[in-house]
Amino acid sequence: MALTLFYITSAVAIFATVMMITRLNAVHGLLYLILSLLAVGVLFFLLGAQFAAVLEVIIYAGAIMVLFVFVIMMLNQGQQTINQEQAWLQPGIWVGPSLLASILFAEMLVIVMSGGDAETGYIVNAKQVGIALYGPYLLAVELASMLLLAGLVGAYHLAKPILKIRKPERNS
């Protein structure tokens, strides 16, 4: 059963990625990208990496996609945006992503109905990952924290001039 689910999810992931690349509008592409990430999250679950699957959904499809949505919304302004939003509310654009999401949801239901076990053989749980992370990979964790700090400082430094310009506009 896990094999069938694996091939269905792979097809969903590849189809969503192809649709993402060929969309002309960035927001439509973003919808399909989220579907692609969710499909890969299901694949992680099927491969026995539940911890990675949860992180994929929370961080990739949650946090990073929110960043993309914010930037896309910041770059679209004026009457053009209103016309765009009117066009987006028409049915037809979100039907494709909804269909793919319902396929993934049906797979989840199948897994839950069959007892929550996807017959994946070897399951690496979060405890083993944590022990490995804070044992032999301690230096890598330190480096990752340094990388995140550098990313934080860099993002702040790059966005700071924009924030400075926005403030006088509000006062006048």
Binding site: L67, V124, G154
Partner: protein
């Protein structure tokens, strides 16, 4: 043994990576290029998870966590750069940024 053959998982990872690479090469919108890069990061993470699942070790997921950290930092800095580029050039076209200072 795992029910999912490792070759198919790695093949899927390669296909997703190639699709992301095609997106970076073909699209000129900076946001779409960043999104295609996310797909490539994701495909790399999938390859690590497949290998970790094949050998039953936690190292694959540890490497996926590091890739996740890298992707988060890259997106933060990349989107900051996109905001700066849009503010200065009023476009998101990567081909319009072909001049260097000096």
């Amino acid at each position: 043994m795992n029910g999912i053959p490792m070759e198919h998982g790695l093949l899927l990872s390669a296909v997703l990576f190639a699709l992301g690479l095609a997106g970076v090469l073909a699209r000129r919108n900076l946001i779409m290029m960043l999104m295609s890069m996310e797909v490539m990061f994701n495909a790399t993470g999938l390859a690590f998870i497949v290998a970790g699942s094949r050998w039953g070790q936690a190292d694959g997921q540890v490497m996926f966590l590091l890739i996740l950290t890298l992707a988060a930092a890259e997106v933060g800095v990349g989107l900051g750069l996109v905001l700066q580029i849009f503010r200065r050039f009023h476009t998101l076209d990567a081909d319009s940024l072909n001049g260097m200072k000096g």
